[in-house]
Structures are given as C-alpha cells and as structure tokens.
Amino acid sequence: MSATRTVDVRVDYVSRVEGHGNIVVTARNGEVDDVRFEVTEPPRFFEAMLRGRPFDQAPLITSRICGICSNGHVLAAITAVEDAMGIVPSDQTMLLRRLLLWGEIIQSHVLHAYFLVAPDFFGVGSVVPLVETHPEVVKRALRLKKLGNHICDVVGGRAVHQVSATIGGFTRLPTPEQLRELDRSLAEAQTDLAATIELFAGLELPAFERATEYLSLESSADYAFFGDTIFSSQGGTTPVRSYREKVREHVVPHSSAKHCASDAGAFMVGALARVNNGYSRLSEGARQAAVALDLCPPVSNPFKNTTAQVVETVHCVEEARAVIATLLETGLRSEPPDPAPRAGRGTGAVEVPRGTLYHEYAIDEEGRITDANLIIPTGQNLANLEADMWAFAPYLIPLGTEKAQHTLEMLVRAYDPCISCSTHVIDLTESGKEVQR
C-alpha cells in the first residue's frame, strides 16, 4: 500500500480583509479533498435586535452591521421601509442618496484596491512599508479615499454612520457652497484616477478563470445602484420583491456561515458582476478605464474584481459631478421628512461596494418592526469563493504550500469580503476555534 501524501493549506485569520476568516484546503495524493472558507466572527443577531424597534431606527441600527458599508445599509433599510410604508422619495432625495452611496463606494473601493490588495503586488505585508518606498502611491491612495469620505461628510454629516439620511428624505441638506467645493475636489481627482488606472493596469493578476453567474440590480436609466429588478448574466430578471426566489440562503454542513445559491448554484455579486452586467451604461471615462484594465465583458477572472472597483471609482467620480451639477442647477429645496407609520411589508435592494444588499421589513400599525431579513453581499459570495478555491487549488498545490496559501489569500482578498457584515447569520463554532493570538 503506498503512503498517502497529504497537503494541508491553512491560513488562520486572513489579514487585510474586513473581519475574521480562515482558509482550509486539504489535498490527498494530489487530489483536492476539502475546501473551506471558515468565518469566525462573533454572532451579531441583527434580525432579532430589530424586532420591536421603531421603523425609523432601522437605518441607524443596521448601519452598525458594518462601518465600511454603513451608508449602503442605511440606504437599503430606508428603501425597504419606504416600500413597506408606501413612501415615494423625491428626485432630489434620490440624487442625494446616490451621492451618499457613491462616496462610500469610492472610499471602500480605494481602501480595498490600495490598502488591502496592492501590498501583495509590491511584495509587502501592508501599506506601511510603502510610506517609505512609494510615498506617492500612498499619498494618492489617501487623497482618493479622502475624496470618497468628503462626499459622505457633505451629504451625510460624517463618513462612517452618517446622520442626515432617513425615511422620507434628509434631515439636513448640503449648502450650494459645500457642493461647489466638493465638485472642485472631484475635478482635481482626475490626475489621481489616471495614475490609479495606470498602476492597476500594470499589475499581473493570477490568470484564473471560472465562468459563473453574475447578479446585479438593473435599471433602464443608468448603471444601476438602485433598482427594482435583479439581472442575471445567464439571462432572465427577477423582481427585487421576489429576491428570496432568486437568492436562497442555506446552511452548509462544514461551515457555520449560511451560503447563498440561485438555481444555477453559486453566483457572484459586486463590482465585477456589475461591470459584467452593466458595462454599456458606465460613464465614458469608466468605459475607457475598463478598456485600459482589460475588463470588457464577459470577464470571468475573480481577481479582476479589484480592477472592476477601479473602473467603478472612475464612474462614481464622474457621475457624482453630474449629480452635483443637476442639484446646483435646480437648486436645493427644503423637504423635511415626516413619515407617518403605516403597517406593511417591504423590500429594498441597493448595490453597495461588495454587491447587492437586500433588506426586508414587516412593520405594524404603530410603526414597530415585527420582522426583518437581511441578505449581505459577502454571504452571497461565499459559495462562489469556495467554488473558485475548488477549481484553483489543484493548480496551486503543486507550487508548494506557501505559494498556494498566498495565492488563495489573494483570491479571498479579491472578493473584498466584509466578514463583520455577513456575521448577522454567522458564528464561531468549534470548526473555527479561536486561537490565542
């Protein structure tokens, strides 16, 4: 009987991602035996915590699911509560909501591309050594990140956990002076954006491809960040209100995390899915960036999620300028939100940095939340990430454990997982024992 050769690839606590996850790959005699991306974050129980709270606290509470995409949660919660209570937001409100979302997307994408992903390509463990070796790269990253936060400051009062967007509108509006000043900052970002495209176009991403289903919101008007329809790259659309039919959560035996599947199985959401599905609706500069970054659809290399984020950063900057121009032209009107409680059930979906975010609430006559369901982009991507790991691992194992570990870490990072976000349904179990660090 020949000896069994077992290769274990294990990365405890993948760094430079938001939250706590482990990679486990086992191969026996060259055959990949097991693949897991374990999530070991504390349980959060947001759906339960929302029960009994007043409807207008849904955005406040759910934004605390995640500091990085807090505005995304605010906007999904608002959209869902408004759907439940039959409130239709004004055009001005929708323009301001777009700005608030785009500010967050710029901030989040820049943080991910420069701080979390780029160090791998410079051969360092973080952005810190780059302060000495590539100060211009670090300073550019900080300027662009600040630009995203600046938009959120102007519209929402602060970048993390904004304080002005609420059910029915905004409790405070930006001044025309603030908007003009913001527009100047956006205009000045052109040089930094061009340098960013150049930097990321020059990175040699692992050449791995695996066709999958890409899901994103669809809108007839624009590159959709808000919308009532879910679009699939494999054809077909689903109304957002029927999201449970398209995006089905299930428990998998090897993981404490709930995974998601559509009819076709694992699917991907996020920047790459959106660029694949909405390429023709990108702003002109963003389409040029996509060409420079070799991102003309269909793209099936998940590592390109990061370059898709660069494309979206360009899009959001350009579109933010267009929205500011519209707001300044029409003038900002005071529209104090004054929503009256009404019983109902509603759903809201928003494209947030990492993909489609679904919120659903039931509200009673007194305006109390009686039921809540939240489906987070990272949770939707977990099954697809593992499918990629299954497909990629056989090619990585022969390269040695260290190389395999590092490349798989890069793959996890490419998805930009936001693990704190997904832990409203995830817990640490024995499989992910907390190691004393």
């Binding site: 973080s126 100060p135 409790t171």
Partner: protein
Amino acid sequence: MDGPLRPTKRPRLALFELASCAGCQLQILNCEDELVDLLQLVEFVYFKEAISETGNEYDIALIEGAVTREADETRLRAIRERAPLVITLGACAHPVGIPGLKNAHDSEEPGRLVYGDAAGYFPSTLARPVDAIIPVDAHIPGCPIHKDEFLSVVTALLVGRRPPIPGYPVCVECRLAENPCAFDRGALCLGPVTRAGCGALCPSYGSRCYGCRGPADDPNVSSFEALLEKNGLNAEDVLAEYVLYNGYRALGDQALTMEVSR
C-alpha cells in the same frame, strides 16, 4: 482607572476586534491627513484589517467591540496581561452599543430567530462592555469614534497625559451650536444625560441624541426629569431609547439574573 498614565516612546499599538462593525478602526484609517505622521509616532504591531505582519509585544491595546462569547473573555484577559495600557474604541466596547440590543431579548430568542432549529450551534452570551471583564485605562467613546478624538487621545498618551474626554453632557455643545432643542419639536433626546465630545453632531443634523457616547459624568437628572414631565414623557420612554446604546447598564443586571437563575 485614576492616576497618571505612563508616557511611552514610539509605543507599539495592537488593535483587537470583538463584536462590532469595524467602523472605529476604519476611523483610524480615515485619518487621511494624519496617517503618514501617525505611523512615524506609533507602530501598529497588530492590525489585521490593514497589516499582515503580527507582533505579540505591545504597549497599548486598542479594543473595539462588545464581549459576546466566552472565548472573548479569555482573549481579553490575555491581552490585559500583556498590555500596560488598554484603551477601548467606540460604543460597542463601552458602554456596549448596538450589540447590547440583544440583551433586551431572552438569551435564546435571538439565536432562534436568526438560525431557527440550528440555533444550538451558535452560542452567544449577554453582550457586555470590555470593562465588565478586565480593567480599562481609558474609553474613547462614540459610534463611531471621532478621528480627532482618537488622535488627541494618542497625543495625550505620547506625552503621558490623561486623555481629554469631556464629562459634561451633549446639551452643552448643542447650545453652543445654537441648535433648536429637539424636545421643542416633540422628540425624545438623550443629550441631557449623554457624554459630550461629539459636537452635538446628530442634533445639529436635525436628528436627536441617541446616547452613543454613554452617560455623562454628573448629569442633572432632576432637570432631565422635569423636561420629560413637561413633554409628557416618562422613564419607560427614556429606557426604550436608552437601551439602543446602553443596553448593558440598562438591562444587564436584570438579564444576568435571568441567566444565572436558569
């Protein structure tokens, strides 16, 4: 804890995360204008969200998040043994923040609602602040922390001063900002009993204070009670709001009793 804090030279910082949204550590990364200088003054030896390399020797432990598992307690005790200074970041770590909302439910209900029949696989304890487990040297309050306050605390620690966190209530800053009082439009505002330092941000944006920075040192309770009475509000109304961020202090003892008696 009282008494002067020891000054340290280029202190090594370690950032640990418990149950939280990571928004407070993001606020550190959001110090875009100061980050390059900050990295000259301090060394981050453990900051998993931003840095791959990890070190086990540190001078200051920064802790974000609430305690929700037994494993968190073990981890905190080990950190306390290593760290000369332990500083909490944000409302989850103190007074307990949004994770404390869970405490309003009986301890099994949240798991059952989220996980259904599989709830038994997802043990979770009462949400508690860090100082319910280990002594803490200073709290940087807020949901999230304000980056200027973070920088001023780091500066204070570098020169061996006690961090400058105000003890007076939010109302002081709100009046300075010349905001109309939220009570005048019929809202219940926790500004009179909540620690200032946020510049009364939420009331300044047409909202009201939800109490994210925890209780002020010496709030004028009788004047708050008078204000409530004048507006037809009672202690129950206040408690319903107060549990949003202060669910350990408000409900903790009661829930603990339930847990122990089980």
